[in-house]
């Protein structure tokens, strides 16, 4: 049984290094998919995103969705990293890496993980505007719920 690598951290992550750790020294992996979600500046209006999380439960939920992906697809490795705290435009927020002998499993499971973690992992984004005006909490999108219902 594959054990997922899950981390919730304030520091930036190195997507390349996570991917390297998965493939290093083995020759049975046929496909690696990485998804990196980044903070967008929204045309310069955004100064930063602040990500609040529920310590403990955030890790638990990421492990739960990863374990579900491992049960549903023939995966050889899963890594999920989610940051919290202040994140500047251009910086990465979330990383999902999946590895499998076959490309379909790697693609589908990475897609599933992103849909699922968006609606189940306890993180909340607050916007800080470049203008100095008080920012607000980002509203959840019904399209994210619909995306999660595909699986």
């Amino acid at each position: 049984m594959v054990a997922p690598v899950v981390r919730v951290q304030a520091e930036p992550f190195d997507a390349a290094e996570e991917s390297r750790l998965i493939t290093a020294g083995r020759a049975d992996i046929g496909a690696v998919v990485t998804f990196t979600g980044l903070c967008r500046s929204e045309g310069g209006s955004l100064a930063a995103l602040e990500l609040e999380h529920y310590p403990g439960m955030a890790e638990d939920e990421l492990v739960r969705v990863s374990t579900e992906a491992i049960a549903r697809w023939p995966l050889q490795a899963v890594t999920v990293i989610h940051r919290y705290g202040k994140i500047a435009p251009g910086e990465p927020i979330v990383l999902v890496v999946t590895a499998s002998a076959h490309r379909r499993a790697a693609f589908e499971s990475a897609d599933f993980l992103m849909d699922y973690l968006k609606t189940r992992a306890p993180f909340w984004k607050k916007e800080h505007f470049a203008s100095g005006a008080e920012g607000g909490w980002v509203a959840a999108k019904t399209e994210d719920d619909r995306a999660a219902e595909r699986w």
Binding site: L51, Y54, M57, H82, K118, A121, P122, W124
Partner: protein, 83 residues
């Protein structure tokens, strides 16, 4: 019981956590939320739209009608926006 609030619930209530003893007969997560909503203006504001509030009991998502049972930690928060 230890109660946690996140995001705008935390901001509206003005605290991130507190300890609350619920009145006898408070058997579900939703009933606990209704009791909290009665504790003052800031609570009423935070819980003004109860149907959108998400609840976790001991760090697991639960529906509003979930029994509190022997729960030690009860958390209230808006729909999640991570990822």
């Amino acid at each position: 019981m230890k109660i946690l609030y996140f995001a705008w619930l935390r901001e509206r209530i003005g605290k991130a956590e507190e300890t609350i003893t619920f009145p006898p007969g408070t058997e579900t997560a939703g009933a606990a939320m209704a009791h909290l909503a009665s504790l003052g203006e800031e609570y009423a504001y935070a819980f003004e739209n109860p149907s959108i509030i998400r609840i976790a009991v001991d760090r697991k998502h639960v529906p509003h009608d979930a029994p509190l049972g022997e729960a030690r930690e009860l958390a209230f928060f808006p729909p999640m926006t991570g990822g």
